[in-house]
Symmetry: C2
Subunit: 325 residues, 2 copies
């Protein structure tokens, strides 16, 4: 009963007679032996571990996607290392360093900054990368995300049709594709429909709750406040709604409101909140699949996956100036 036999019994890489295999397993059970995956990884040059590096697990978007990634990874025999960057490029860099050092097989990342020299290193190290929701320049890796343009366009049209002439957007950081896309589409569509968007109607946030609060506060303090507000993600929507409630503005009577990212709570609120919903499950599943496929298949880089976001209309937008009877 040599080490080789034990290895073969566990991995099944080479045939072992049934009797010996039985004995190996019996003895292992008795001694509490368990194959050491670290040694295995060293020898095999594969850790069966994926890195998931995201700005904020607390953001329901990432929570849900992380869950789907975990499920898909687990199904394919991979474990998941979670890295929360807090939107901090420095922390992100150090996470990439650590994960590379730990020899993860692939990485799913939603980069905090538009350009990441460290990601280039990851690529250089031959570790497959999949971008989630956002991409960084200079790195040739597939992106998995939802295309919000159709839905944002539809939302602006919907608001314009209701008669809104002073719409505001609480946008995401311009360094992120998703932030840029949502703002860009909003502005383009507004222009197309002849709705003016003066600078004070565009407040740049950072996808975090606090910035939503601040933006809403500023908007409400305007001499001529908007009649409709769109928040470019769920956390900022939460902040904006909190601030609106604190200020005593009634939605939708005083102010129409909608947000990017749906929430399980929107349905329950009074009024229920219109939102743009992304296929979170599919996004996470696709990200993990892209990675495992390029790991198993070994073939060339996989294609990007762009799914559609969907506008879910509820009761939070009405015609402007319509006061409760």
């Amino acid at each position: 009963m040599s080490v080789a036999t034990v290895s073969r019994s566990f991995s099944g890489s080479q045939p072992v007679s049934a009797g010996v295999r039985e004995r190996v397993h019996e003895v292992s059970r008795r001694l509490g032996y368990r194959p050491n995956a670290v040694a295995r990884s060293l020898r095999m040059d594969a850790t069966k571990t994926l890195g998931l590096v995201i700005p904020n697990i607390t953001n329901p978007f990432f929570t849900e996607v992380a869950r789907a990634v975990e499920a898909a990874a687990w199904r394919d025999g991979y474990s998941l290392m979670l890295g929360n960057t807090d939107e901090d490029p420095k922390k992100e860099e150090r996470y990439l360093d650590v994960l590379l050092g730990k020899q993860i097989d692939g990485i799913i990342i939603s980069p905090a900054s538009a350009t990441s020299p460290h990601l280039a290193e990851v690529e250089a190290a031959g570790v497959p990368v999949v971008f989630l929701d956002r991409a960084a320049a200079g790195v040739d890796a597939p992106v998995v995300r939802a295309d919000g343009r159709l839905a944002v366009g539809a939302l602006v049209e919907y608001l314009a049709n209701l008669g809104h002439e002073r719409m505001a957007i609480i946008s995401g950081p311009p360094e992120t594709v998703s932030g840029r896309e949502r703002l860009g589409t909003f502005l383009e569509e507004a222009e197309r429909l002849g709705v003016e968007m003066p600078p004070e109607m565009v407040r740049a946030g950072d996808f975090r709750q606090k910035s939503g609060e601040r933006a809403m506060r500023e908007l409400l303090a305007l001499e001529r406040p908007p009649t409709a507000v769109f928040a470019a993600n769920n956390l900022m929507a939460l902040g904006a709604l909190t601030e609106a409630k604190k200020a005593g503005v009634a939605i939708p009577d005083d102010l129409s409101f909608a947000s990017f990212d749906d929430s399980r709570w929107f349905e329950l609120m009074t009024p229920s909140i219109s939102a743009i919903s992304q296929p979170l499950e599919e996004l996470g599943e696709a990200a993990a699949r892209l990675l495992t496929e390029s790991l198993e298949g070994g073939g060339g880089k996989p294609e990007s996956v762009i799914l559609d976001a969907e506008l879910v209309l509820r009761d939070s937008c009405v015609e402007p100036g319509k006061k409760p009877s």
Copy 2:
């Protein structure tokens, strides 16, 4: 320039002259060399990695705690492996196996079942365990959780004082300490206050949204439905509220409602929802700290950490039978 020198230059375990260290780093940078943590782990018998095994990252309680765990682990130089068990003991077992195989240094777990033979193996393997929120029998490991008894007791008293005589509880699974504690305290306190709790007023859920919906549906279908409902966690609260809204029951006029676990959305709802809030940040931080301390310190098992939950009263509970004017 031997391997030993390189190792010493990077780890600093032994002194290396400044000149040589410089040269090592310069060459490493040029060649894109990076120390292999897998080999290091094999040699050192430590992976600087913690396992976090939870039932459902989608549950805001765990999301928030996971975030705090990640932050604390990162601060102390540890990475985090995330395992989502979906409340499935089988998946949990296999996760423990995988994580043990991967030689994680410690594990934080919120077990799906009250008794876990595999956890005993973890203990036997000498891997420190910290229980989060729930504990499993037969394993001598510290627990980090919030004690809900004071808050639940206060809530029952509050409801009784409002005049409720028919209260219902949507409880968690009796296999979990937290589920048992919340139900037990509720019943004890009700009895103490002379409020009867017939069996139909106690609906056992499983901490998931669906079970909250079902429970609320059943409660509303009762011949004499309750005047107040308490959901034993946030997901079931979400389900219950969804069902209530669907059924057209007005809260708080037709039904008072409160839940265990606070939510950022409760404040925003109409009415705002009273809830019992747990110190999520502190729980996560404590769990990670317990683990890293027992890893670094090496001393005996750390003590359990039991923090207090806090009753946050809002507008979702009123006197029963009080119809809107």
